[in-house]
């Protein structure tokens, strides 16, 4: 793999609150994710995993506290590159082709030579042959590949994955795990929320369990990796 063209970046959550009219989706969450860590978040539905990831992606604003990016020396950085975000929704346009979608987002992000970049990513996710097909005609697995390609357009140092493997067949999960492994090994920081144990969750170097908006277990503070994951989706 080509040497990373990003600088390793971690995330710092400081006293994050997220309220929805009196209901706390997240309650005083403080976490330090070091550059290059691969973290899996586990927890029941509604435990706050999605909210935390969306706040990290800067899609949602915390009601209290702050989230910032830190470099490998744990100093805050004002990174201009946003994180790559993949969710259950594909976040690509059904009415456009795979190629058009990537070109659109590449241009919006001001990426140099957008056409080349889009083509390269389509090759890497194995969609080169279908690049001129409308996303509407794609299977779920293929849509996720477009989504990953979209997230990787600006070579982000941080990847946020919100239950991205749901709906994928075993082959799809396999491909996904391999892709994430490659991204992890290249030094990217990865945060993912998953339902249950799988090939993908086993790639993580750290597991954190959320319950009702608070951190209840963290392998960094001695909790057991397996037992955290088995609470997921319970």
């Amino acid at each position: 793999m080509t040497p990373p063209s990003f600088s390793p970046t971690g995330i710092r959550f400081e006293n994050i609150d997220k309220r929805y009219g009196g209901l706390y989706a997240l309650r005083r969450v403080s976490l330090e994710i070091a550059a290059g860590e691969c973290v899996v978040f586990a927890g029941r539905n509604g435990s706050g995993k999605t909210t935390l990831l969306r706040i990290a992606a800067r899609l949602a604003r915390p009601s209290g506290g702050s989230v910032s990016f830190v470099n490998s020396r744990a100093e805050k950085v004002e990174t201009l590159l946003p994180a790559g975000f993949v969710a259950h929704a594909t976040m690509v346009y059904d009415e456009l082709t795979a190629e058009e979608n990537l070109l659109l987002f590449a241009r919006l992000q001001g990426i140099a030579e957008p056409a080349e970049r889009a083509a390269k990513l389509l090759r890497e996710v194995g969609l080169e042959e279908r690049r001129k097909s409308l996303v509407r005609t794609f299977s779920r697995g293929m849509r996720q590949r477009v989504a990953i390609a979209r997230a990787l357009l600006n070579q982000p140092a941080v990847l946020l994955l919100d239950e991205p493997a749901t709906g994928l067949d075993p082959q799809g999960v396999n491909w996904f795990a391999e892709t994430i492994r490659g991204l992890r090994d290249s030094g990217r920081t990865i945060l993912m929320s998953l339902h249950g144990e799988s090939e993908v969750s086993n790639l993580a170097t750290r597991a954190i369990q959320l319950d009702s908006g608070s951190v209840v277990a963290d392998t960094r503070t001695g909790a057991n990796f397996r037992s955290i994951l088995s609470f997921a989706g319970a």
């Binding site: 992606a57 949602a60 604003r61 929704a89 976040m91 009415e95 919006l108 001001g110 979209r150």
Partner: protein, 224 residues
């Protein structure tokens, strides 16, 4: 400037999507046509009064059509959560609004210009001599409708009963456009060689006021 280039790219996407399916244009055009025909059953379209009423009916038809055409504007960004993708990719969220309102203005204007000859024939109204003025008032009026409609569409997309809600919110808000545009258009239909600058100026003021407000409030409309 990033805002302009982002707007241009997004505008390209909006136009490409629409011209591929043409679903907004066709349904809107047919709807205005239906309204124009139905209106003709409400009174005698061949009488001299039709020239006075005609302008009002035409703009009413445009407004009704617009309030339906603008509904999918932000709703269609919800199906695959592409709105989040846009928010992650653009530097200034106003680009999203700017692109959509320019596209919507274009679509409305296209519909209006396609139906003008039909209307002129059915209601026996002379339009060729004042065509350039008509295009100008159609443009300024449609721009105002688009600006307000795009903004409100972002609001109604987040509420229940969104299909009924957008017309409910939008139509009272657009009263000034209806009044001013009708005045200018009626004068032109009536054969006046001069255009009412006061009316055009008023429409421009409306457009500027709402565009500025949208520019200031845009990011909050998309907030999560």
């Amino acid at each position: 400037m990033a805002l302009l280039s982002n707007t241009a790219v997004l505008l390209g996407k909006e136009l490409r999507t629409e011209f591929r399916s043409r679903e907004l244009l066709t349904t809107t055009t047919v709807f205005v046509l239906i309204v124009i025909v139905l209106f003709s059953f409400s009174f005698d379209p061949t009488s001299a009064e039709s020239r006075r009423f005609g302008a009002g009916l035409l703009w009413l038809a445009f407004l009704f059509a617009a309030s339906l055409m603008l509904q999918p504007c932000f709703l269609r960004e919800q199906t695959s959560d592409t709105l989040s993708a846009l928010r992650l990719s653009v530097s200034d969220p106003f680009a999203i609004f700017l692109a959509k309102l320019v596209a919507n203005t274009l679509f409305l204007l296209l519909t209006e210009l396609m139906l003008l000859p039909v209307f002129a024939v059915m209601y026996n109204v002379p339009v060729l001599a004042t065509l350039h003025w008509l295009i100008l008032v159609f443009f300024l009026g449609s721009l105002g409708v688009s600006i307000a409609g795009t903004a409100l569409s972002a609001i109604s997309a987040q509420a229940r009963m969104r299909e009924l809600l957008l017309p409910l919110l939008l139509l009272p808000l657009l009263t000034p456009i209806l009044v001013a545009s009708t005045e200018v258009t009626a004068a032109l239909f009536g054969g006046s060689p001069y255009v009412q600058w006061k009316g055009l100026g008023f429409l421009a003021v409306f457009d500027v006021a709402f565009l500025t407000t949208l520019w200031l409030l845009g990011e909050y409309l998309l907030e999560e």
